[in-house]
């Protein structure tokens, strides 16, 4: 029963984001509650509608978000971006402030939006849908050795799945997910590892069980993909869905497949964010203060 409650908590995970747009008349703010298991590009239509009243350019040019002058990759889940960018510097207020921009789109850093709607505005949803479908194909390939299930998915189910992702509709999402993942016996587990402060993304095929048949632990995975940080002691902490997973790194009851089932994102990837040792103590004390203060 606890595993369903974990799933519910993961599905309902939200982060509060303050979005600032610097218009000609001064900065304008927008407060958004964004699901961890969602994408910023889903919110762009609402942001454009809101900020478009202050600057017409917002409605006609592709927008993007920045954090500390770093363009935010809209193709990554919000929770992953939060853990990767905000967690290392999170203050007790827990407010994540981003800047919306619409000038000189940083094509070298983030995927451009290439589609427009019939009325000439940027079609954020179509680009995101295309990206998420590609990610699903990738994860399906890792899980099953091929992407046939995704490719064979009917248009109605495909659209339903997409609308479920946008609307955060668990029932619809699960309904199609059951078609895409008919069984839970997988060849490999799709995992992506991000190290805070580094632009490198580690994506390795992770086998859920070892040659002896034992479940592969998170610690074993991290020692393999990041030996300099995890093989010879604890110099870093892995975070999944905003949780410090240090306590479960070598837990024999907590295999990588269990973690994937509990914490996978909508694209079926398990995202692990690694925070290196410096600054961990500060995060601990800040978080404790915030929890006890609330």
């Amino acid at each position: 029963m606890q595993s369903i409650e974990v799933k519910e908590s993961v599905w309902n995970g939200l982060v509060n984001v303050r979005i600032v747009f610097r218009s000609a008349g001064g900065p304008v703010q927008y407060l958004a509650r964004v699901y961890r298991q969602s994408y910023f590009a889903v919110e762009f239509a609402a942001l454009v509608e809101y900020f478009g009243r202050h600057d017409k350019a917002v409605a006609t040019q592709p927008v993007w978000l920045e954090y500390e002058s770093v363009p935010i990759k809209w193709n990554l889940p919000v929770g992953v971006l939060h853990d990767y960018l905000h967690l290392p510097v999170r203050t007790t207020s827990a407010v994540w402030t981003l800047t919306l921009r619409c000038d000189q789109y940083p094509r070298d850093h983030i995927i451009p939006f290439i589609y427009t709607t019939g009325s000439g505005t940027v079609d954020y949803a179509r680009s995101l849908q295309e990206t998420v479908v590609n990610l699903l194909k990738q994860s399906s390939f890792v899980l099953n050795g091929n992407a046939k299930v995704i490719m064979a998915l009917g248009e109605a189910d495909s659209n339903a799945w997409w609308h479920a992702i946008v609307a955060h509709n668990l029932y619809q999402y699960e309904r199609v997910a059951r078609i895409v993942m008919p069984s839970l016996k997988f060849q490999r587990v799709p995992v992506k590892v991000y190290v805070c402060g580094s632009t490198e993304v580690i994506q390795a095929p992770i086998y859920p069980t070892s040659a002896s048949g034992a479940a592969v632990s998170l610690g074993a995975v991290l020692s393999e993909v990041l030996p300099s940080l995890f093989a010879q002691g604890t110099f870093a902490r892995p975070y999944i869905q905003g949780l410090d997973m240090t306590a479960w790194v070598n837990n024999p009851d907590c295999g990588i497949l269990d973690l994937w089932k509990a914490f996978k994102h909508l694209d079926n990837f398990l995202y692990i964010t690694v925070l290196v040792a410096s600054g961990l103590a500060e995060i601990d004390s800040r978080d404790k203060q915030s929890i006890s203060g609330s």
Binding site: N16, R53, D287
Partner: protein, 182 residues
Amino acid sequence: MWNDILQSLNERDILEKKDSEYYAAFAQLAQQLQAVGLESTSPSPSPSLTTSGEYNREPDLAKENHQLKAEITKLIEGINEKTIAAEKAELRASQAAKAKTSLEKQIDKLNTKIETLTAQLKEKDRSIEIINDEALLNQIQSNVLKDEIEKVRHENESLIKRWMAKVREDAERLNEENAKAG
């Protein structure tokens, strides 16, 4: 394990959902502002007339659209809650079905055991009957033997009496002859 993870998730949510009520209130206000903005952009009191003479229902439709979006969001939240509740119920049903299957297996095992024990009991009853019959037979034989022993004892006593009488007669006769000779 899941209990600890759930606890950590709750702590995460306390931190990350802090001040959420203000964010929710802002979202509502932004929607209302948007609706008001649309109404104010209308050149005449709604519904306005377009150049073609038709009513310009765009602001009304946009307002309705916003309201419907808000309703859909609420409905989806409700569906998500129901989905989780359904999953919990499914899990409970699956656990109950497993327990039922396990109990049925146990019942089958116990029934088999009862059958075996009943068969053993019948066998033992039969053995007891045989033993009882044998005991009865032995008792009869014993009684017969007792009677025979009694009979033999009587015969023996009678023979001893007769023998003693004969010995006495012989002794008396011998005494008489000795007395005559002396």
